[in-house]
């Protein structure tokens, strides 16, 4: 079979402008070779900064914001895309090659109906008449498993769920019947339970239409379900390239093996879990003017243990954290630490009560003031709760930096000068600075690369051992729950469906939702997707 897409010796560079210095050329991607045939899927996998999106966009001869393709060849059907002029390349984009971006919610125009946007590129390229394009869109909605395909196109983007929007975007890409589609992390922003449906829909649609695809993701388990071949990337270079079966079952490089075996943490479950150190009883909560988001939730954590709260978005798990911290006073119910009932309102809580409970956010970027240095960020709680000043405070900050495995060289850095993992570590240090007894972690690792996330989890567990910390760990990732939790609470549409020691909650017999949740976590083996679709009992609520 002739090669549809052939990438030879690709080199991509960018120019950076460091303040006060001469501009520098930076090589982002180098020495990338691969070929792709009709009907096949190549998975590009790597951590952030590995250059996977950059390579994906190179298939459209496009460089994002200052990025330039400076060497090599990208040929589609034997024609070199890089040699084309602007007009020729425009004729290819949206016609022969299409792109599906990570965040469909941000990529659709909220002011236009979905149907019109799905067929827009096709009409622009004059590939079909409007009626034909609409018929094709309806057909694609059907293939992708969207509800009521006849009328789906009449809806606006805000009227459908995130998973449906991502599928609508796939329909948009497929509409012009392209030779190649570039999927850039299409399921990363979705819940596990929704991800599985989108994944299945994309796979089905690719098979039906016999299109080739580049599938970009950081999740090896996901790419294993959908790809024929996999290319592992790191720092702009190729690490390993082979069939999916070979990469997953028999990786030859050390880095690939690390990726395959990530989440190696083993944490023995605590045996004694009845002592209630932190406790929430009979919590009902609602946002102003809204429906109840929490209905009669009661749970507790013993000292020095971890309670994992799992559920999909909208299940109320973050709201539970807001109630615990006092940001959202509950309608009914009580929050207690060590037997002492906390006032419902944040403003009524004493400084001492606030100190005992700290929060770690999902996005470390927005959780830290960009105009304060690391020293100031960590130093403030030290000064605020303990009244330490000057040298004493600096010494404490140094100790804290050491405890998060970062040297004191970071004291004067700003958050923008840190990597994602380092930022989250600083956020942990800020929480530790208060000498808390309980830390609520709101998805602290979900924005991080798997290996970095692993490091953060290790750190949290070590700190727990040393300082007898209790964690309430909010997550949608069952693999993390398995790794670190002592007890587990499963939330579904504002209700607690299951709560107890990990070994009991994650063992059968399951209720329908827990069954779905457990089955939706991608497993690092081939053929997993088909198996799950056959055996699950319930579809996701957000679907």
């Amino acid at each position: 079979m002739p090669d549809l897409l052939e990438v030879k010796n690709l080199k991509i560079e960018a120019t950076s402008y460091p303040p006060g210095e001469a501009p520098q050329r930076i090589t982002i991607v180098e020495n990338i070779d691969f070929t792709l045939q009709k009907g096949r899927v190549l998975g590009l996998i790597g951590e952030s900064g590995a250059g996977k999106s950059t390579i994906g966009l190179a298939a459209l001869a496009y460089g994002r914001g200052g990025v330039e393709i400076t060497g090599g060849e990208v040929s589609l059907n034997g024609k070199d895309l890089l040699a084309m002029d602007r007009k020729q390349i425009r004729a290819v984009r949206g016609d022969r090659v299409c792109y599906v971006s990570q965040s469909a919610a941000a990529s659709f125009n909220p002011a236009h109906r979905l149907g019109a946007q799905v067929i827009e590129a096709t009409l622009l390229h004059k590939l079909m008449s409007k009626a034909e394009a609409e018929a094709r869109a309806t057909h694609l909605f059907d293939i992708l498993g969207l509800p009521d395909p006849q009328n789906f196109g009449k809806r606006y983007p805000h009227q459908v769920s995130g998973g449906q929007l991502q599928r609508a975007m796939t329909a948009m890409a497929l509409c012009s019947d392209p030779d190649l589609i570039v999927f850039d992390e299409p399921t990363t922003a979705l819940d596990v339970t929704t991800q599985i449906d989108v994944l299945a829909a994309i796979k089905h649609a690719i098979e039906e239409t016999d299109t080739a695809a580049l599938y970009i993701t950081h999740d090896l388990a996901v790419v294993a379900q959908i790809s024929d071949d996999i290319m592992v990337l790191r720092d702009g270079g190729m690490v390993e390239y082979g069939t999916a079966a070979k990469i997953i079952e028999n990786p030859s490089e050390v880095y690939t093996r690390e990726l395959v075996n990530v989440r190696s943490i083993k944490h023995a479950e605590a045996t004694e879990q009845s002592r209630k150190y932190f406790e929430m009883t009979g919590i009902h909560a609602a946002y102003i003017g809204g429906q109840k988001v929490l209905k009669d939730v009661s749970l507790h954590v013993p000292k020095g243990q971890t309670l994992a709260i799992v559920g999909e978005s909208g299940s109320g798990k973050s709201t539970l954290a807001r109630v615990a911290t006092g940001l959202l006073p509950p309608l009914e119910g009580e929050v207690r630490i060590d037997g002492e009932a906390l006032p419902k309102q944040l403003k009524q809580r004493s400084r001492e009560q606030l100190r005992r409970m700290q929060l770690i956010y999902q996005m470390a970027d927005t959780a830290m003031n960009p105009r304060q240095t690391v020293g100031q960020i960590i130093g403030r709680p030290v000064a605020f709760y303990e009244g330490l000043r000057g040298k004493e405070r600096d010494r404490r900050v140094e100790e804290l930096l050491e405890s998060i495995e970062m040297g004191d060289g970071y004291m004067d850095r700003y958050p923008a000068e840190l990597s994602g993992g380092q930022k989250q570590r600083v956020a942990i240090a800020r929480a530790l600075a208060a000498k808390p007894e309980i830390i609520i972690c709101d998805e602290p690792t979900s924005a991080l690369d798997p290996l970095v996330a692993d490091g953060i989890l290790h750190l949290l567990l070590n700190l727990q051992k040393k300082r007898q910390l209790s964690y309430i760990f909010i997550t949608h990732d069952i693999a993390i729950v398995r790794a670190i939790a002592d007890s587990v609470a499963v939330m579904y549409q504002g209700e607690l469906v299951r709560f107890g020691p990990k070994s009991e909650v994650l063992a059968p017999p399951f209720d329908d939702y827990t069954d779905l949740l457990l089955k939706s976590v991608p497993e690092m083996r081939l053929g997993w997707l088909e198996e799950v679709l056959l055996t699950r009992k319930l579809e996701s609520a957000g679907n």
Partner: protein, 275 residues
């Protein structure tokens, strides 16, 4: 940021502002004649001795222009500073507390804005004793309504960030949140607005002086000088145009710098990409 990247227009603006500021600071040494000194005929023509000619009482226009820079800049600057302090503090209190405090302050602000500020100023200044502090205060209060609107809008964006919530969870008070968490993150748009409002303050002061309620004679100020000499225009005497031109030039200079600041701070990429 390197000096080379600053466009020429900004250099022109900076130079213009610098000249005016130097004039204001060193007026008695720079000015060839005294502020109220009568040195020749009424509306005497421009000559080597009197660069811009003489005014309606025979005073040197250049000297009065230099002395006038003093009052004009002083009043405009203090009024702008005061209006910013007032506007920022009120708007940040509104943005951090939300609820009825926000509602109350915002509606009072709307009420103030709904009255045309010139008429408002005329009425208030006509009833209050005429001195500099009153004038500055009235200008500041009227101008602070505009600052309030901008301040509230930018502060609202920052106040919903996680780091502000984190500070709140720590138990920090409103003062800390306003000055340590929100203010540093809203400073660049506010600075740009400062330059703009400063230019408006000069114009507003000139307007008031022209109408006779600003700086009182015999003190020189640019707007007042236009008023004093306006009758000369009928006789083809350009004395009124000189202070008018000075106002225009200073305003343009300030705006050139402000435009550049705005471009730098309001771009989508966080103010780093200056095209």
């Amino acid at each position: 940021m390197r000096l080379k990247e600053i466009p020429v227009s900004v250099w022109i603006g900076v130079t213009g502002i610098a000249i005016v500021v130097i004039c204001a600071l060193f007026a008695p040494w720079i000015a060839p004649y005294g502020e109220t000194e009568v040195v020749g005929d009424v509306w005497g023509p421009a000559s080597a001795e009197f660069l811009f000619g003489l005014d309606n009482l025979g005073r040197d226009i250049l000297s009065r222009l230099i002395f006038g820079a003093r009052t004009t800049i002083f009043v405009a600057l203090s009024a702008t500073l005061l209006s910013f302090s007032l506007g920022i503090v009120m708007s940040f209190i509104a943005a951090t507390n939300r609820g009825w405090i926000d509602l109350g302050l915002s509606r009072i602000n709307d009420l103030m804005m709904s009255i045309p500020s010139l008429i408002f100023a005329l009425v208030v200044l006509a009833t209050l004793p005429q001195n500099l502090p009153t004038l500055i205060l009235v200008m500041a209060v009227l101008d602070s309504t505009r600052v309030f609107r901008l301040g509230r809008a930018v502060a609202l964006d920052v106040a919903v960030m996680d780091f502000v919530e984190a500070a709140r969870l720590r138990g920090e008070g409103t003062i800390w949140i306003i000055f340590k968490e929100i203010l540093p993150n809203t400073l660049s748009p506010l600075l740009a607005e400062f330059g703009l409002r400063f230019a408006f303050a000069i114009l507003f002061l000139s307007t008031l002086s022209f109408l006779g309620l600003g700086i009182q004679p015999p003190s020189a100020d640019w707007g007042g000088m236009v008023k004093d000499n306006k009758d000369g225009i009928i006789f083809g005497i350009s004395a009124a145009l000189v202070p008018g031109a000075a106002i225009a030039v200073l305003t343009i200079c300030v705006n050139m710098v402000v435009d550049w600041l705005l471009r730098r701070t309001s771009s989508l990429k966080g103010g780093r990409g200056d095209a």
